[in-house]
């Protein structure tokens, strides 16, 4: 069929300049599926935010692990979320809600509406992770879920880095979550395996890969996330391996151990994501975080 492999208009286009953000905090979390149930009774506690004790009762597993990753980031870098209330949140879950969905598909035909919890609508949708994180952190900026399936990492990075172009936010939390491997439900939605749920939380601020370190706030310029549109020739784009959240978590782990860390992947449309993290102690301290919205002209882009 004509047009199937034709280029379509996307943003950023292949001729767009690189998009770069400074990584000011990064953390990861990973839990086996059977370890997640106890976490439901331990909702995060941040100053100024009063959550109910059942806040996580119906939350998807990817939401719970994402909140754990955020909590590690805020604790490790002494971040008070009240200072980031105007930030945005981009979450890119992968196949969220499969176990709950399988359970609902089993129960609904047998018991009707009273047999299933309506929470699946709010808790197992694409925007559920970002929405829950926004409530838990007491944030007032935009929160959006993107991706949802294969290559969700690429969708998340692109959405986070382009958000700086669209909305005047001083920073963005990028949450990447997935199971490895996917949960296998039985007919009633009960898991038949014990996969690991991974989450990464990256706190991003607009920045420039092309700027010299002296132009950047402190040493934070050494920790960057970059999207390079159209980096690869079309003839070499077939069969790129899909990146994993665990790979990114490994990069963060190396930085936390004081090692310079790099991670990169190709995207099927030809773009490339590159992340480099300086040793964790070099990341931007809390007092350097802006309290107000940055003017649009503060955005810098790599040439």
């Amino acid at each position: 069929m004509d047009g199937i492999d034709k280029d379509v208009a996307v943003f950023p286009t292949e001729s767009s300049p690189d998009l770069t953000a400074i990584v000011v905090a990064a953390a990861s979390a990973a839990y086996r599926l059977r370890e997640i149930a106890p976490l439901r009774k331990l909702p995060p506690a941040y100053p100024g935010v009063e959550l109910s004790g059942h806040f996580l009762k119906h939350a998807d597993e990817q939401t719970i692990v994402a909140l754990a990753a955020i909590q590690r980031a805020t604790q490790r870098y002494n971040i008070d979320p009240r200072n980031l209330a105007g930030w945005g949140i981009i979450a890119a879950p992968r196949y969220i809600g499969r176990l709950t969905g399988a359970n609902v598909l089993y129960k609904f035909p047998r018991g009707g509406t009273s047999a299933v919890a309506p929470h699946i609508v709010a808790q197992c949708s694409l925007h559920s992770v970002s929405g829950a994180a926004s409530i838990a952190l007491g944030m007032q900026g935009p929160n959006v879920g993107v991706g949802g399936g294969e290559w969700a990492i690429g969708d998340g990075v692109m959405a986070a880095l382009t958000l700086f172009e669209i909305v005047r936010v001083p920073g963005v939390w990028l949450l990447l979550t997935e199971f490895d491997c996917e949960p296998v439900p039985d007919e009633e939605g009960r898991p038949q395996n014990d996969p690991t749920c991974h989450a990464v939380a990256l706190a991003l601020m607009p920045g420039s890969a092309g700027a010299s370190p002296s132009q950047m706030p402190g040493e934070a310029a050494n920790s960057q996330l970059t999207l390079r549109p159209g980096s690869h020739s079309k003839s070499l784009r077939a069969n790129y391996p899909e990146p994993t959240v665990a790979e990114i978590a490994g990069c963060i782990d190396a930085a936390e151990r004081g090692l310079p860390a790099r991670w990169a992947c190709w995207l099927p449309w030809g773009g490339r994501i590159e992340m480099r993290l300086a040793a964790a102690e070099l990341l931007l301290p809390q007092e350097a975080l802006p309290q107000d919205v940055l003017p649009q002209d503060a955005l810098t882009r790599a040439a």
Partner: protein, 88 residues
């Protein structure tokens, strides 16, 4: 079922929903702030109440419910209407 029996029954449902039995389930307690139920929590409780008590609630009923007293009164009115219908 009188009002106090209904109150006890609804407190059971809310305990199932929130893992906590409400300390205060008096008429004046606000659903959202006092019981920390969001709109989906309330919908879930009401679906269970419908099943347990045999009444049917629609979205217009939800708009009027802000306190425990509103909740009890709404359900009692539905139960009374159902009983009247059956008697007729």
């Amino acid at each position: 079922m009188d009002r106090e029996q209904l109150r006890h029954s609804l407190a059971d449902l809310i305990e199932q929903e929130t893992w906590e039995r409400p300390d205060d389930f008096g008429d004046g307690v606000k659903i959202r702030e006092g019981l920390k139920l969001d709109s989906v929590d309330l919908l879930s409780v009401m679906l269970k109440a419908e099943s347990r008590l045999g009444v049917s609630l629609d979205s217009r009923d939800f708009d009027k419910i802000t306190t425990v007293g509103d909740l009890l009164t709404t359900i009692q009115r539905k139960m009374a209407a159902r009983a009247t219908g059956k008697a007729a």
